[in-house]
Amino acid sequence: MKNFQIIRALSSKSAVSSIAKENSAMFIAGGTNLVDLMKKNVVSPDKLIDINGVDLKKIEFLTGKVSIGALAKNSQVAEDQLIKESYPLLALALAAGASQQIRHMATVGGNMLQRTRCSYFYNPDMPCNKRVPKSGCGAIGGANRMHAIFGASDSCIAVHPSDMCIALAALDATVFTEGPKGKREIRFTDFHRLPGNTPEKDNTLLDKEIITSIEIPNNNFTKNIHYLKVRDRSSYAFALISVAAGLDIKDNTIQDARLAMGGVAHKPWRLTEAEEFLKGKTVSEKTFRQAADLAMKGARSYGDNDFKLTLGPNAITEALTIAASK
């Protein structure tokens, strides 16, 4: 790892004004992704701005919504009693990610900005358009078992690796940011982006902007919910495919549905067409299977990940079935 300077910011304003003065500075929160990437020389900033002293750790239950500070730890959110009761899908998704040690360090903002786990991205000796624009994509025609089946491009077929973000996309969260040009709010589903021909950009956060918090509106997805994560071992592994499913069921009829998938695209993949299809239908495995088939329209695989075309609809059906049975 290259040496660097480190300074500590005590407010989001001073964090933004410090980073605005630098060419090669980055924020550091839990460090669980950034320190790893710096050790591998994937990124090598000259300066780090430690934002852990900024007061953005609170979880606040407000009228009609919850606000979660960008520096709240993943374990703090996953184990908050009120989050477990009112937004259980988020708690489940968080608990399915990484290990307890990492969840104690990792923050909500850092989780959203974690980089892909594509092994070519992680290896500076390999071509990767995301790491070095226009250097080529090692994964297309290479080892791509973990890679995308939706929304990929000829430049990049990487997936966003987060579990938390899949639940936040399903729950219609909003992201709040602060930058040199002021404050912004971004719909969660618009926060991450598809690679197109600029895969170096994972999301729509602007240069020098800091994430300050996220908000989730209250909802009825408190009982019939499930986060299904399919992976190579039963814990402490990234998702091959994950599904966040929420159903609002009355008298065996689906009033409302939420569905999002992880491990399939460059961003959390919301399945709106399948959600619409489910509304008004009676609960049955056949209906869930039809919704899953609808959700898979347009999927495309790249060789090693062909299995995702079968695993995908099975996982959606399974997640909905488990959610409905709760």
Partner: protein
Amino acid sequence: MAAKKSIKKVVEEDSNNSRRDFIKKSGLFTALAFTPPSLVMASDKKWDEKIAEYLETVPLSLEVNGVKHNLNIEPRTTLLDLLREQLLLTGTKKGCDHGQCGACTVHVNGTRILSCLSLASMQQNAQVTTIEGLSKGKKLHPMQEAFIKNDGFQCGYCTPGQIMSGIACIKEGHANSRDEIREYMSGNICRCGAYHNIVDAITEVKEGGMPL
């Protein structure tokens, strides 16, 4: 980090040369590639060696196993390397150095974390507990006793991390069943596969209700 260390080593071996002379002699390319920008800048501007040294390190005060330390460290030093290489507390192990094995688990301010992914420079005033800090004099910690009694290890390399994690697992309230213990201990990999006995050890300590 290896590159940096090799410079230091060469400097020490050739003690007639000052560090700055060495950097000057070693050619611009090496200097730029292997030294922090502040040091290159200081060297360019012919600043005093001491300033350069100060610029590339930061002061850090922290407490490890109840002992206070006032140190100067490079910002890039991880807590794991600080513990092992500067404080010579080699009980904490380096398995993968990338967050994937849990061998480096220590407690910081009472919480289990991975010391290989923590920058020491971000631990100002932290209270760190390592495996060396568990026993009271000659009396082992109940979790250490339970690992011995239940054969919770073979080669022992993952054991310090397992023990630190196991104590935290109980304190956090995540040791209520064997399945829960397995899930909340999943961040500690054991190449020898001592998992079954590790769960036995944690279960025994939990059920014994001993103060941790």
